[in-house]
């Protein structure tokens, strides 16, 4: 039943085993054809680079090493020295100062970048000399002072004085706790 197939295979094998004679000028003619092709060196380099970049690779690593890399990444991305370690609660704080004959009074301190224009204080009543301001503060220790008429600095008589006052104008400190 399989005899014809075996004969066919035998013939094919015999044919394939015949020695082949190649023309001696074949190599030269093929290379000549190759040289005539248009040059594509830049595209070829880009193609090679793209192929190098997109070729999947196998990178051996220890699980411990991968965990260390991930931990370093998370620590560097999340860590900021100025950031509080946990979300801070905000409390409203009222500041009061008596400044007779003042035209303007500003509350200036660490909480508003020492910007005299940021927190103007309000008179309690039109004809009185009591000025107030209420601002939100997160827990911490803040230096501040009152600036009267844009030229005169007043410390808060109701608060501790800032000891390290290097600038020759008085400041006070307020400490906001969290518990």
């Amino acid at each position: 039943m399989f005899e014809p197939d075996e004969e066919l295979i035998e013939r094919v094998v015999r044919q394939l085993r015949r020695p082949v004679t190649v023309d001696a000028g074949l190599d030269a003619r093929v290379m000549e054809q190759v040289r005539r092709l248009p040059a594509r060196r830049a595209a070829g380099a880009a193609h090679a680079a793209w192929g190098w970049l997109t070729r999947p690779r196998t990178v051996p690593f220890l699980p411990l090493g991968a965990l260390a890399v991930a931990a370093v990444f998370v620590a560097v991305v999340l860590w900021r020295p100025d950031r509080p370690s946990r979300p801070a609660s905000v409390s409203e704080f009222g500041f009061v100062v008596v400044a007779p004959r003042a035209t303007t009074v500003s509350l200036v301190g660490d909480f508003n970048d020492w910007d005299a224009a940021r927190t103007p204080m309000q008179r309690v009543r039109k004809d009185e000399s009591v000025w107030t301001a209420v601002i939100p503060l997160t827990p911490g220790r803040y230096r501040y002072a009152f600036l009267v008429d844009g030229v005169r600095w007043l410390a808060d008589p109701a608060a501790p004085a800032a000891r390290d006052d290097e600038y020759g104008a008085p400041s006070s400190v307020v400490t906001v706790g969290g518990s």
Binding site: G65, A68, V69, V72, F73, V76, V77, P81, D82, R83, P84, S85, V108, D110, D113, W114, D115, A116, P139, G140, R141, R143, W153, P160, A161, R163, D164, E166, Y167, G168, A169, S171, V173, T175, G177, G178, S179
Partner: protein, 204 residues
């Protein structure tokens, strides 16, 4: 490879944090020096916001450039000493309060002991210690009183303690005696409050 990645990320993070735009308010003499001091503090993992604020305070108060630079430099040193005393886990607000306490004369060992005995933030205990010294209380008496209260007292208890001391001093009591008396009273109150808190039923 891990070190290389970490160094790259740190460099990228530093590159993304350019000069603080608020420092543009400084004069041309102090600005580059303060900027360098802030950069150095950032590289040393110290909080930079207090340094910026101290510089802004100086420029708002029309201080001379050399005084601004000196103040910022001194605060940077104090923050470094504060971290040495409190350890690397100290928060920025704790470091600011600790720097003020050290500047007031508190021994570094007192700060380290506070860290050891108190689980909550040290900002208020350190501020109370500084304020007491500022009120004329000898630093040893102030430190002993704060240490005796810090383990159990809440921030509000400590602030109330400081007010009591200042009130008694204003009424004529010697500072050390006023501190000892107020500390004893506050300790008793803290014990009562702590007992009440323990007996209070918790959430279901």
């Amino acid at each position: 490879m891990t070190l290389l990645l970490a160094a790259t990320l740190v460099a990228l993070q530093a590159a993304t944090q350019g000069p603080d735009p608020r420092l543009q308010r400084l004069d041309s003499i102090s600005r580059p020096i303060v900027t360098a001091l802030v950069d150095s503090a950032r590289a040393a993992a110290l909080p930079t916001e207090p340094l910026v604020q101290r510089a802004l305070e100086g420029t708002t108060k029309r201080a001379t450039p050399d005084r601004i630079v000196a103040a910022v430099r001194r605060l940077a040193l104090d923050l470094g000493h504060a971290r040495d005393a409190l350890g690397p886990t100290a928060s920025p607000t704790e470091l600011v309060a600790a720097a003020a306490a050290l500047r007031a004369g508190a021994p570094p060992a007192t700060l380290t002991e506070l860290r050891r005995i108190r689980r909550e933030s040290l900002t208020v205990p350190l501020a109370v210690l500084t304020d007491l010294v500022g009120s004329g209380v000898p630093v040893d008496s102030a430190a002993a009183a704060v240490l005796s209260l810090a383990a159990q007292a809440r921030d509000a208890d400590l602030v109330e303690f400081r007010r009591a001391v200042e009130r008694d001093i204003a009424l004529g009591a010697p500072p050390a005696s006023a501190t000892a008396a107020a500390a004893a009273f506050a300790a008793a109150a803290v014990q009562v409050n702590a007992g009440a808190r323990q007996q209070r039923p918790g959430p279901p």
